[in-house]
Amino acid sequence: MKTCLRYVITYVLLILLALFMMGPFLWLLSVSLMPGRNVFANPPAILPTFIAFDNYVQVWEFMEFPRYIMNTVVITLLGVVFNIVLSCLTAYPLAVFRFKGRNLVFTLLISTMVIPSATAMIVHYLTIQAFNLGNTFLGVVLPAAVSVFNIFLMRQTFLGIPVDIRDSGKMDGASEFRIFVQLVMPLVKPGIAVIGLLEVMAFWNNFLWPIVVLDDPQKYPLAAALTYLNGQFSYNFGWIAAGTMISVLPIIIVFLFTQKYYMEGIAGAIKG
């Protein structure tokens, strides 16, 4: 009886919280499926009386979504590849090699975490202009091509690999690079998956830096295009709602399919 009551209370609380966290998204979905209704009508439209996909069709035709989706995919892929390659390469020696300056590198990396630079964006802007990368996808990606956080995460993963692996590779006469690529990398796939996912989310959702770097709105990724859409059609709620759903759904789907790795990775990150 007592456990039964406990179950009921727990479920009630869980459902209330779910309404609080998911409610806004469900409402957005509902608005996007209501043709020609104003979200600010009185009383506000909460549930659709009938479901129609008009908003999706119209905004899709109007906004050139395939282009924005392509932009986002290119930026995200570039960002993820850069981050995986660079953070693995940087973290590996910090985990397994013994060399002079190792502690220095490590301290330098940590210090950037403690002292955030509010001016970074201004200098990034100047740097990107100096490299002539303004208005390019590379300009969007490069400032975030590697992060100290990812290096830490990968270092932690490399530390968990038995030393014997490297020794046995050496015994067979393999070069350090070959040992790294053929023996070590396959063992850290879960770690790679985690930083990959974190960066997919980060690059997919990034909006401010792309707006700063890209002069041409045609090159905007989805999140940036969304602010553009909101500025241009602030009266057409159905369209904006549909556009927002289109931009949000892929990342939610990616998350739902990969949540196991993702959540383990987030949890593992603080144990580091």
């Binding site: 727990t10 590697v146 959540m263």
Partner: protein, 293 residues
């Protein structure tokens, strides 16, 4: 032996070279370059001059900048404390009952979606004729509509609410990881001693979560100082200067008005304050005997 170590050292640097190069250009360089820049009037448009400490004296007389620092401070004092709610969420989703994983995922979805989408949704929900006013009026909590985001006295708190709402799931996951590391026999022992659920939370769960609470407070404090997206999308610092946070003000001065020199000086001031604050939090962290990071 000596030669072996030397070649190992060479290989190590060769491995790290590309990553360190990027870090040098995009992480270390901005920190270094921001310092000389803040002693100039660099602005792209006019010729650059060395102006000494002018930017700094100007900053401390700049009413808007001081207001923005104050708003950031309010953010830092309030948001990390409210984030502690996520401990209760974590305790709930740590129950061993069917379907609980579904709830975990649901609570995490605001974390993975973009702030642009989140801000857009909430700006509608919070509009004059929006759902929030409608529900609060119906429930009798409000007697008239409130324009949450365009009233000076509420706007900052609304933004804090949105920041918190988006972050709750993230902190929940961190605490959940902590909860799963607490041995079950501790609860068993407490139960034998006749402790109820609430006492177990206060006397077993919270003390054992201390490292996690400190870690989450630290990242939440850092996040609250850097808060930008939600403010920039929803209010641009307005109405008036009621939601102007320091990062938004620096962005306006730097990348909207192209006063790079002045913006760098502001950035430097904020960085020093943040640096001092993080040293403080780290110190507190150490005193607690925690070495989780």
């Amino acid at each position: 032996m000596y030669k072996a170590i030397r070649s190992e050292s060479f290989t190590a640097w060769a491995f790290m070279a590309p990553g360190l190069l990027f870090l040098a250009v995009f992480t270390f360089w901005p920190i270094i370059y921001g310092i000389p820049l803040s002693f100039t009037d660099y602005s792209v448009i006019t010729e650059t001059h060395y102006v000494g400490l002018d930017n700094f004296t100007r900053a401390f007389k700049d009413h808007n900048f001081l207001v923005s620092l104050w708003n950031s401070l309010v953010y830092v004092l309030i948001v990390p404390v409210i984030q502690l709610l996520s401990i209760l969420m974590a305790i709930l989703v740590n129950s061993r009952i069917p379907g609980v994983k579904m709830f975990r995922a649901a609570y995490y979805i605001p974390v993975v979606t973009s702030m642009v989408a989140v801000a857009l949704i909430w700006s509608w929900l919070l509009g004059n004729n929006g759902v929030v006013n409608y529900l609060l009026l119906k429930a009798g909590v409000l007697s008239e509509q409130v324009s949450w985001l365009s009233t000076s006295s509420t706007a900052l708190y609304v933004l804090m609410f949105i920041t918190m709402w988006k972050g709750l799931g993230y902190y929940m996951m961190l605490y959940l990881a902590g909860l799963q590391g607490i041995p079950a026999d501790l609860y068993e022992a407490a139960r034998v001693d006749g402790a109820g659920p609430l006492r177990m939370i206060v006397h077993v769960t919270i003390p054992l979560l201390r490292p996690h609470i400190l870690f989450c407070t630290l990242i939440s404090v850092m996040g609250a100082i850097r808060v930008f997206d939600e403010v920039y999308i929803l209010t641009k610092g307005g109405p008036g200067t009621s939601t102007l946070t320091s990062s938004v003000y620096i962005f306006q001065k730097g990348l909207e008005q192209f006063n790079f020199g002045y913006a760098s000086a502001l950035g430097l001031i904020v960085s020093v304050l943040v640096g001092a604050l993080s040293v403080l939090v780290f110190r507190l962290n150490r005193k607690g005997g925690v070495n989780s990071y």
